[in-house]
Point group: none
Chain length 200, copies 4
């Protein structure tokens, strides 16, 4: 990649970072191209030489970050661990990754939520695709666990949704409200149960 290209990528990156800050704070509609231009120290017109329109700028940044998050989290599936260990590791990595992207989390979940549950004209089908991919891998882990007799015999999708719902709720609370919990607690809760086995 020559200097030209490197500089081009560098400029694009600066725009994306500036846009991320603003979109994350104020949302898509409430952020204007003029503001992004000011924040990134480019002219409005310049933004349009990198992105065909506001929507694509938004989609691109969201997708890029989502890809980074996805990459980190999904890498767990390639570690060759057994289902139980995979889940444990997944919790750790999810916590670490989402905290690392805490500025973007608000935007991320909101996009994801819109994409999954059907807001018309959603801005990020790409993000949805990544998530579905992740979910599919997660389901495979649960399926394997069930096959191997480690997990009770329930639908892998059911397990996946429950796992994701629980973990995401805890992580969001920890990022936005400062609620503290460890990955051990979380995985124990999910795996263990809330019922004491030895009863009262």
């Amino acid at each position: 990649m020559g200097r030209k290209e490197r500089e081009f990528e560098q400029r694009k990156r600066e725009i994306l970072e500036a846009a991320l800050r603003l979109f994350s704070q104020k949302g898509y509609k409430a952020t204007s191209m003029r503001e992004i231009a000011k924040e990134s120290e480019f002219a409005v017109g310049t933004l349009y030489s990198f992105f065909p329109n506001k929507r694509r700028l938004y989609e691109e940044i969201v997708l890029e970050k989502a890809r980074e998050i996805s990459k980190r989290v999904t890498s767990v599936f390639d570690e060759g661990l057994d289902p139980l260990a995979t889940l444990k590791r997944l919790v750790e990595v999810k916590i670490a990754t989402l905290h690392a992207y805490s500025d973007f989390i608000r935007l991320y979940y909101s996009v994801l939520w819109e994409a999954r549950f059907g807001v018309k004209e959603t801005l990020s089908e790409g993000v949805l695709a990544l998530y579905e991919e992740y979910l599919a891998k997660l389901e495979r882990v649960f399926a394997e666990g069930v096959d191997k007799g480690i997990f009770k015999d329930r639908s892998p999708r059911f397990y996946s949704l429950a796992f994701e719902g629980m973990m995401n709720a805890l992580i969001q609370e920890s990022i936005h409200q400062g609620f503290q919990f460890s990955s051990e607690e979380a995985i124990e809760l999910f795996l263990g149960s809330v019922l004491r086995e030895d009863g009262p």
Copy 2:
């Protein structure tokens, strides 16, 4: 209530329903008063004789529905059940209620999410207040369960967040993606565990 008043309420309801459809599909910012007027088959000016401005129209619709949902779900806490039975009942009622309000669910969670995790100047503090109230009652149930030795000794907040996260994820999926599950499965999962007790 005379005919006039009844008609007034009827018209107001028609506007609110039309607005609900649009806000739910496209969000607050992306829905224009003109569209609401068209959808409700009133003139723009008429909207303003029922609501002082767009924001209040939005808040009114969201708060009304949220109150109805809250009322139904929270009523479970008044049934005088023990913690375990309360949780079971809660899952049933949540599923039934949220399905009954399926048009509104998208908007509901999105408002709640914005209110809890972000976005200054949220449009619905009332909704947040209702949810926090619910969460407080749920925590009390878990606290009681822990006290009585039914549940393992963990923070009630931790339990509540996990419970809510898991159930909401399952219910949302069932509403929007047609994923089917029973309340028994859900509560068993939460209470029971994913691990077989007799292991492999």
Copy 3:
């Protein structure tokens, strides 16, 4: 005039008085039909059964009041006085009349001014006509005074405009700013001169 007609006129009067208060305080554009309805304790629709539109309501009230003022002031010309006495009497009557209509004065001069100096689409040609009539009579007084050798030989229009300008300025100041002056002072100034005849 039967009861019906009397009542009709009475209602019309109430509307006009209410409208006058509002137009006078806030101007034509800033006063809404709804406000006039509220102030007059009629429904908006009722206003339209007395006046075909807002503009005519405005014109009618302005014209009515202008006619009253005009009648009182113009009556001086019918008193059969000589030019000098007419001017003196005119000053007295103008002061008294305009003070009596002080609520309306702001509106009156503003309409007159617009009508005379050509704001397009002026709302009150009738008021202009009345004033021109008055001015014509005043010119005749000056013409007579010049003919009789009482006044220096200048154009009656010149005299009239100067007289009106001076008197109106003083009267407006007295009404709006509380500046006090007597009709004697005013007429002496106009007739006398500012120069001492015996010089320094």
Copy 4:
């Protein structure tokens, strides 16, 4: 001042001139931003890149012109003339100046009138301040004339109001109705008297 700046000023001037024509003909409220855009041959949005809102556009145009008029007229007070000569000169300069600004006169007097005699929330306090300043200087001239025994012993305010009222009425008539008069006539009338000293 570079080409850019010059062009900026030129465009701003074109907008101001267009707005002046419209405000002058129809008044503030009755003139819409769209009309100003059309008249100035710019887009609506362009207007807002020169002025933050309609009101400021109005104030700017009014205040600018008022300042120019004020500057020219008030300069007479700095010529070091005696009271009598000052008044003579003032009449000449007022006539010349107001004729030079004849497009603006209608608006000028209307703003001045509103500011002096009425209307809360006037749009141009600056214009009023300029006029009060002028009036104060004029009063000082009359006070000096009285002190020196040139003028009869009357209140300077009284003299000033009468002078202004008379002259403005004449000048307005000459601008709007084509009535012709010379400064000599006007000042003679004011100073001299309408009464022949040698009577009939």
